[in-house]
Symmetry: C2
Subunit: 323 residues, 2 copies
């Protein structure tokens, strides 16, 4: 993604210059640790580009970009505790490197620091409006995560609920990243609405594609166990579509497996076969491609600029990604 | 505290009317549970009174009062996980009634809902300024909690550090509650500074007094084990003053106990004797009384009003409390 390198470099420099306190050490070292540990910085880059496509210098959106990235990293710290994930980007997760209490608290502090970034937004941006937008998105992220956890013990999840869940867990923050970037760039109401459509669509597309790659992607490229989601008995769109579409017998087979998760290797293979014989592979691919097209369509309504081109490239890149 | 009943009733009604969503259940039931579970509502009442003593109708400070109380309850949910406290106000703590993941997430959502209350503050209050004040206080609360946790494994905590810790853990939010109440009541800069002095002083006084009552209060009135803090080896002001003041031999005795905490009954009694023979009991009482006087002095600079009288009563009540 060379075309994103200038945004990434600009953002990374600001992130490293963040005036993060040194003490208490157990509060701030974990925050610096997870921020140093990288990540693709997709959300803040989307804030910067969104400001650009609305006709302003992307640098104006830097406080929003920082707020969004800090918020995202706060959710990672807490999600890793909730999901009992021992590692993140190849390094120990914060609660493993320190302990749960330290991870909970440093996450809370990062939440506060994320919101404090909004204090640095230019005076001509309505502080109340941008805070409102951000806080409502944060709340949707919490709701999405709660739904995801509830799904674990439910066998009657609907496809509608699944969409609501990923719309919160993934779409809301990406949508907010883009809208906040736009607001910093004096976007019109119409532009803000379009940015929300693009952000939400990208979030949905990205998450469904993630689920799809987990089963049908190349495990070597992805760097994770093949079909890990099926193994864990997760209610992905693939799984929910299969349950809706397959024969009564197949349905009973899958539900039996889910009642006794994690699934064994032969059980995982059986489920993949059911996905394939019922056309779930193609149908789900069509789904995420449709969301990408939706984003592309909304983007076409912006005036031409280098920023627009970069976003078009980014969407194309995401659409064709193999990992 | 009959004189506070009108404020409490006013606040409780608004709290019960809070437009809290019903779903996802695992996100919102824990939040309603901890809010129903009571508490003295000291912080929100201080917001309302502070608005009153600045010459405005206390009801104008309701959004600030709600924000502060939600924030306080969010910290209780997370603190109970960190401190592995199984109960709170006689009921199971949130992570015990549900589980840790649910407690972490419902706390996070309550944090967001707390900040969203600020959206309802009257248009003539500077949203950016009041958010800044609140977020910085929240961050001080996190820093105080981190210091408190660090103290558990340190034997070189200074009295200065102790003051910093309780200033964050207790004083910051009480100070913010009062300042935010004042801001909603169009307080002058001078009034805001006085409110901060009162709030911080009350926070320090209250916390030191809590530590004092733990050792020298009547356990039946307090409803907790006598000298529970000593038993746990906590670095309270009593303990730190004793370590600074007592003889070298006594110091070694105490440090030996702390290295092997929790302390046994005879060890606790030995420590209490050392406190008493070194005048720590009187000295610490003088300390918290001094902070109460500090608050009273700052309060005298406000013009006379019923609200001022109520706050004077409240301070007097707190000063003389036995539990």
């Amino acid at each position: 993604m060379d075309f994103l390198a200038p945004y990434a470099a600009l953002f990374e420099k600001q992130l490293q210059n963040l005036d993060y306190p040194k003490k208490p050490e157990t509060l701030y070292r974990p925050q610096r640790y997870i921020l140093k540990n990288g990540g693709k910085r997709i959300r803040p880059i989307l804030s910067l580009i969104s400001c650009g496509i609305c006709g302003s210098d992307p640098v104006k959106a830097m406080p929003a970009a920082l707020a969004v990235e800090l918020l995202h990293n706060f959710t990672l710290i807490h999600d890793d505790i909730m999901d009992q994930a021992d590692s993140r980007r190849g390094e120990p997760s914060v609660h493993k490197k320190w302990n749960e209490a330290t991870a909970i608290l440093s996450g809370d502090s990062m939440f506060a620091h994320s919101l404090l970034q909004l204090q640095n937004i230019s005076e001509d941006v309505d502080h109340k409006k941008i805070s409102d937008l951000f806080l409502k998105a944060i709340n949707k992220v919490c709701e999405g995560q709660a739904m995801d956890m509830e799904f674990e013990t439910r066998n009657d999840v609907t496809i509608d609920e699944y969409h609501q869940m990923i719309d919160g867990k993934t779409g809301a923050l990406i949508g907010a990243a883009m809208q906040m970037g736009g607001m910093c760039g004096s976007a019109s109401q119409n532009q803000l609405e379009k940015l929300l459509v693009i952000g939400n669509s990208l979030g949905l597309a990205f998450q469904i594609q993630d689920d799809w790659l987990d089963v049908f992607g190349d495990p070597e490229k992805i760097g994770k166990r093949k079909a890990g989601d099926i193994h864990e008995g997760k209610k992905t769109l693939l799984m929910l579509s299969a349950l809706e579409r397959c024969s009564k017998t197949e349905r009973e087979v899958i539900l039996g497996y889910l009642d006794n998760k994690p699934l064994s290797e032969p059980e995982v293979e059986e489920v993949v076969k059911i996905f394939e014989s019922n056309g779930i592979k193609e149908e789900t691919k069509d789904q995420f491609l449709k969301h990408y097209r939706h984003a592309e369509k909304a983007l076409r309504e912006f005036g031409d600029s280098n920023y627009k081109q970069d976003l078009q490239h980014l969407i194309k890149f995401l659409k064709n990604r193999e990992s």
